[in-house]
C-alpha cells in the first residue's frame, strides 16, 4: 500500500489541527517523515540477541540420549529418550522444549553445536566479559561486540538508532559502544505519551525558516521521526490488543520479545536488539544444585517465548527480516555433582531462529569421552558465529568489529 504525503501527515502528526500548518512544513520534513513511515524492514535485517545468564547446561538442553557416557555421569539429572523431543543423530530437546521442537520441525530453528573458545574462562564474570567483548582475555577493552557493530552502523551507515537494549536489568557490557548511544528500555510502553505527543509534534513541525542552523534542522527532523514512530507504536499496541492478535505467554522473556516485535513493527529502525533471560549478574542458569526444576522452567521460558515471537512475526511476513540468536557464557560439566546440579563447563550449543535458515543441525555434538576438565570441548569458536551473523545476516564488516577475519560457519543461512 502506498502512503501518500497527506496520509502520512495525518498518521504521524495526529489529529487535523496539523493540517493548518502543512503550508509551512518544508520539503525535507515531509521526505524525512515519509522515510520514517517507510515500509517495515527497509532499514535492513534485524538481529535479536538473547543472553542466557549463568551458564546454560547444553547437555540437558540438546541431549545426546544415545550416549552411555551421558547416562553414566548424570544419575539423577539424565533425561531418558522417551522424555525428549527427538531431533536426529541421537539428539533430543529437553522435555520442556516442545515449542522449540515445533520451530525446528518447521525449519525456523537451528542448533549450532559445540561452540566455545580456546582457554575459555570458567568464571562467570570473566567468561561473560569474553563473550561480550569478543576479545577474550583483554580485560581493559572498553566496548562490547554489539556496541562496536552499533558504532559502525552509526558512523559508517549513518543510522541514528542502530541498537536497543530491552529489559529490566542493567544493559550488559556487550552493548557498550563508544560513539553511538544504545538506549535501554523496559518495554515499548513507557514511551507512549498520551495526549501530549500530538501538540508537541504539531509545534515541532512548524518551519524553522531563517534559523540557518543545521544542528537545529537535525533535531527537528529526528523529533518528527520520533513522534511518527510514537504514533505507530500506539497503533501497533492497539492492534495487538484486538481479538485474534498473537498471544504471548505470561513470562518475562515473552514480554520483552513482544516489546521488541512491537518496536520492529513500529519501524523504530534498530538493527540489533539485545534481551536477557536468567536475571543478569550470576543468572538463573547457574544450576549448581537442584538443577532439574529450575533449568526446566528456564528452558520452557526460552522456548515458549522465542516460539511466540517467531510465530507472531511470521503472521505478517516479518520473519524473513528477523533473526534470534542465543548465547550463554559457558556450558556445564558432564558429571552431576552431589547436589543434583552441575559445575561450570565450556562448549555449549547456540540457537538461531528465524525465517531464512539453511541447516537445522550445524556441527557435530561434542564427544563425551574426550573431555577437558570434565566438560565437552568446543570445535566452533563463538567469534566465527558472530562473524557469520554480522556478515551474512546483518551485512556488516565483521573484521572491523571483531578485530580480524574469522572463518564463517557453513550452513547457517539459506
Amino acid at each position: 500500500m502506498r502512503t501518500t504525503r497527506r496520509d502520512f501527515l495525518k498518521r504521524s502528526l495526529g489529529a487535523t489541527p496539523l493540517l493548518a500548518f502543512t503550508s509551512v512544513v518544508p520539503g525535507f520534513l515531509s521526505r524525512t517523515a515519509m522515510a520514517a513511515a517507510g515500509r517495515l524492514g527497509e532499514e535492513g535485517p534485524v538481529l535479536v540477541v538473547v543472553q542466557l545468564s549463568g551458564g546454560n547446561d547444553g547437555l540437558n538442553t540438546v541431549v545426546p540420549f544415545e550416549d552411555d557416557a551421558y547416562h553414566r555421569n548424570r544419575p539423577t539429572l539424565r533425561l531418558r529418550a522417551e522424555q525428549l523431543h527427538k531431533l536426529e543423530a541421537g539428539l533430543g530437546f529437553h522435555s520442556e522444549m516442545g515449542a522449540f521442537h515445533r520451530l525446528y520441525e518447521s525449519g525456523h530453528l537451528s542448533v549450532i553445536q559445540g561452540v566455545g573458545y580456546p582457554n575459555s574462562n570458567r568464571d562467570h564474570e570473566g567468561a561473560m566479559r569474553d563473550w561480550h567483548s569478543a576479545r577474550p582475555g583483554e580485560s581493559a577493552r572498553q566496548t562490547g561486540w554489539v556496541g562496536r557493530a552499533v558504532d559502525q552502523a552509526f558512523t559508517v551507515d549513518g543510522l541514528g538508532l542502530p541498537g536497543v537494549f530491552v529489559g529490566q536489568i542493567k544493559p550488559p557490557f556487550s552493548v557498550r559502544s563508544e560513539t553511538a548511544l544504545v538506549p535501554s528500555v523496559a518495554s515499548s510502553r513507557p514511551w507512549v505519551l498520551d495526549g501530549f505527543a500530538e501538540p508537541v509534534a504539531r509545534l515541532a513541525a512548524v518551519a524553522r525558516a531563517g534559523a540557518n542552523n543545521s544542528l537545529l534542522e537535525f533535531v527537528q527532523k529526528e523529533t518528527l521521526a520520533a513522534y511518527a514512530c510514537n504514533q505507530r507504536i500506539q497503533e501497533v499496541l492497539k492492534a495487538g490488543s484486538r481479538p485474534g492478535a498473537k498471544e504471548y505467554p505470561q513470562l518475562p522473556l515473552a514480554r520483552t520479545l513482544r516489546s521488541i516485535a512491537e518496536l520492529i513493527r513500529a519501524g523504530l529502525g534498530a538493527r540489533i536488539y539485545f534481551a536477557e533471560l536468567g536475571g543478569g549478574e550470576i543468572g538463573g542458569f547457574d544450576t549448581h544444585a537442584g538443577q532439574a526444576a529450575n533449568h526446566g522452567a528456564l528452558l520452557r521460558e526460552l522456548s515458549d517465548s522465542v516460539a511466540a515471537f517467531v510465530e507472531d512475526l511470521g503472521r505478517d511476513g516479518l520473519l524473513n527480516s528477523v533473526l534470534v540468536m542465543t548465547f550463554s557464557e559457558f556450558g556445564r560439566g558432564l558429571s552431576e555433582n552431589g547436589r543434583r546440579g552441575t559445575g561450570h563447563g565450556s562448549a555449549a550449543p547456540m540457537f538461531i531462529a528465524g525465517g531464512k535458515l539453511q541447516r537445522r543441525l550445524v556441527g557435530a555434538h561434542p564427544s563425551l569421552t574426550d573431555l577437558e576438565d570434565d566438560a565437552p570441548k568446543f570445535h566452533t569458536d563463538f567469534r566465527r558465529v558472530y562473524a557469520t551473523v554480522l556478515e551474512q545476516w546483518l551485512g556488516f564488516d565483521s573484521k572491523r568489529i571483531l578485530g580480524k577475519n574469522y572463518e564463517l560457519v557453513d550452513g547457517l543461512f539459506g
Partner: protein, 462 residues
C-alpha cells in the same frame, strides 16, 4: 550577517577578545540565556534579568567567582556524597551529585567537574567500591577551576585510575603499555603526538606502582631502572618526570583547549587551529583553568553564532537546566534512573573517552524519553510528585492570562527564540490548557505548556 562572522572566525585576536555589546550585536535575553545554559545548566528568571542589567562581563565574573558562601555548601555536599558512597551501589552518591548540581550556588564548578569526569572517563563499574570514584570526583571538583598540572598529578596518583584502566599491577617484567597508551592518547598529548618509544617509556615509568586493598602503593624493587627514550630525551623516568615533560609539549595544552572548545563553544565544527594554538600557548604559561575558562566565556567567539545553539544538551543539562530555571528541586534518585535510560549514567561513562555527546544523544527513543521526563518533572503525576510550581512562578512574574503565561514560559526557557507560528500555537495550547486546568487541577495545564517547550527541538540545544 553570517559572512561577516565567518571572516572573523579564524582571527584569534578578535575571537578571544572580550565581547563588548553594541554595533549590531546587542546584549539581549537570548545571549544571557546562552551564557546561563553553558555555565549554569540554565538560569532562573531573576538571574536572566540581572544578567541583562549587569551586562556580559560582570555576569561572567559572577558565574566564575560567585559572591557569598560556596565553601560551606561544598563541604557539606562532600560529606553527603562520601556517606552515600559507602554503600555498595553508586546510586545514592549519583543522586547527591545531581542534587548538588540543582542547588549549588556555584553551578559552573559542577559543569566543569562534569567536564573532567567526561575527560577522564573513569568508571565505577570496574572498581570494587563507589567510594573510590567519589574520591576521584572530589579531586576533580577541587581542581576543576584550579591548576591543570595539579589536577593531572592528582589523578595519576589515584587508585581509581589504575583499577578503572585495568593496571593494578605494574611489574618490571610486565610494563603495561596499553595503560600508557590510553594515558598519552586520551589525557596527556592526544593521538599523533607521541611515538611507540614514548609509550614504552611511559609504561616503564609506572612500573613499581600497585593497587592493593584499594590503595596505591610503590614497590621500588619492581621499578624498571633501564634507560628509555621519552619525547626525545633518554633516561630512567618516574611518573613525575613523565608529567613534567608532557606538560612542556604544546600538544598537552592543546588537547585540553580543544576538549574545552567542544564543551563550551561548539560541537558542530572542529576547533580551528588558528584559534586553538594561541589560546593553548597562553594557557600553558600557568595551566590556570579558571583563567582559561574565563577567557573563553568572556570572548567574542563565545557570544557569536559560531557558539549559539551549536551544542546538544546532555540529558543532565536538559533536566537539571529545566529544574534550575524554575528555581525548583526534585527527587534526584528517580532522576538518576531516568538519566541512565537516556544514556547518561553518572559515575559510569561508557568508555575512557567519556560520553560521545553531540548527535548521539538524540534518537527516536531518547527524544520521546526526554519529552516524557519533562512531562513527569513538571506535572503533578509520576514519581517526581509535582514539586515544581510552574503556575506560582509565572504568577509571581505577573503572568495571569494564558497568553502572558505562554509568553513568560517561552521567554524563560527559550528566551523567546521560537518561530512565530509555534509561539502562536503555544498560546492556543496554553488557553486550552487553562480551561482544562480550571476543570481539573490548577497546575496541570501550565505545566503542560512548560513540558511542551522542553520537548521543542530548540530546547534540546545548549
Amino acid at each position: 550577517v553570517n559572512d561577516g562572522w565567518n571572516q572573523k572566525l579564524d582571527d584569534a585576536a578578535w575571537a578571544w577578545a572580550p565581547y563588548e555589546p553594541g554595533a549590531g550585536h546587542d546584549w539581549d535575553l537570548r545571549l544571557a540565556g546562552h551564557l546561563y545554559r553553558r555555565t549554569a545548566f540554565g538560569g532562573t528568571w531573576d538571574e536572566l534579568q540581572a544578567a541583562l542589567k549587569d551586562g556580559p562581563q560582570s555576569t561572567v565574573e559572577k558565574l566564575v567567582r560567585p559572591k557569598g558562601e560556596t565553601n560551606a555548601f561544598n563541604t557539606a555536599y562532600d560529606e553527603y556524597e562520601r556517606e552515600a558512597a559507602k554503600s555498595s551501589s553508586a546510586n545514592n552518591a549519583v543522586a547527591w551529585w545531581l542534587r548538588r548540581m540543582i542547588e549549588t550556588p556555584h553551578p559552573l564548578l559542577e559543569q566543569m567537574t562534569l567536564f573532567w569526569h567526561n575527560y577522564f572517563g573513569l568508571t565505577n563499574e570496574r572498581l570494587s567500591h563507589p567510594a573510590m570514584l567519589c574520591r576521584h570526583l572530589h579531586r576533580l571538583r577541587h581542581q576543576a577551576l584550579g591548576k591543570f598540572d595539579a589536577l593531572l598529578e592528582g589523578v595519576l596518583n589515584e587508585p581509581a585510575l589504575f583499577v578503572s584502566l585495568e593496571a593494578r599491577a605494574n611489574r618490571k617484567a610486565r610494563p603495561n603499555s596499553e595503560f600508557a597508551r590510553i594515558l598519552l592518547e586520551q589525557f596527556l598529548l592526544g593521538p599523533g603526538h607521541f611515538s611507540e618509544s614514548d609509550v614504552q617509556a611511559t609504561a616503564q615509568a609506572f612500573t613499581g606502582w600497585f593497587v592493593s586493598q584499594d590503595e596505591l602503593r610503590y614497590a621500588a624493587r619492581e621499578h624498571d631502572t633501564g634507560l628509555r627514550q621519552l619525547l626525545g630525551r633518554e633516561g630512567d623516568f618516574e611518573v613525575k618526570d613523565v608529567l613534567h615533560m608532557v606538560l612542556q609539549q604544546p600538544a598537552a595544552s592543546q588537547l585540553v583547549v580543544r576538549r574545552l572548545y567542544r564543551w563550551l563553544i561548539s560541537e558542530t565544527s572542529a576547533a580551528p587551529e588558528a584559534l586553538i594554538t594561541p589560546l593553548a600557548a597562553d594557557f600553558a604559561k600557568d595551566y590556570d583553568l579558571a583563567r582559561l575558562v574565563e577567557t573563553v566565556l568572556r570572548s567574542n567567539l563565545f557570544f557569536s553564532p559560531a557558539a549559539y545553539r551549536q551544542k546538544i544538551k546532555s540529558p543532565i543539562e536538559f533536566s537539571v537546566g529545566l529544574v534550575r530555571s524554575f528555581g525548583a528541586s526534585v527527587g534526584t534518585l528517580p532522576l538518576s534512573l531516568d538519566l541512565a535510560a537516556l544514556g547518561q549514567n553518572l559515575y559510569e561513562p561508557p568508555t575512557v573517552k567519556g560520553w560521545a555527546g553531540h548527535r548521539s544523544w538524540l534518537n527516536r527513543l531518547t527524544i520521546l524519553g526526554r519529552a516524557s521526563l519533562a512531562h513527569s518533572l513538571v506535572s503533578n503525576q509520576g514519581g517526581y510528585g509535582g514539586k515544581m510550581d510552574i503556575q506560582g512562578i509565572a504568577q509571581k512574574h505577573g503572568a495571569e492570562t494564558p497568553q502572558a503565561t505562554s509568553d513568560f514560559l517561552c521567554d524563560l526557557l527559550l528566551q523567546g527564540d521560537l518561530p512565530r507560528p509555534a509561539r502562536q500555537s503555544l498560546a492556543a495550547t496554553a488557553a486550552g490548557a487553562k480551561a482544562m486546568a480550571e476543570a481539573i487541577s490548577p497546575s496541570t495545564g501550565v505545566g503542560q505548556v512548560a513540558a511542551l517547550l522542553a520537548a521543542m527541538p530548540e530546547y534540546q540545544l545548549a
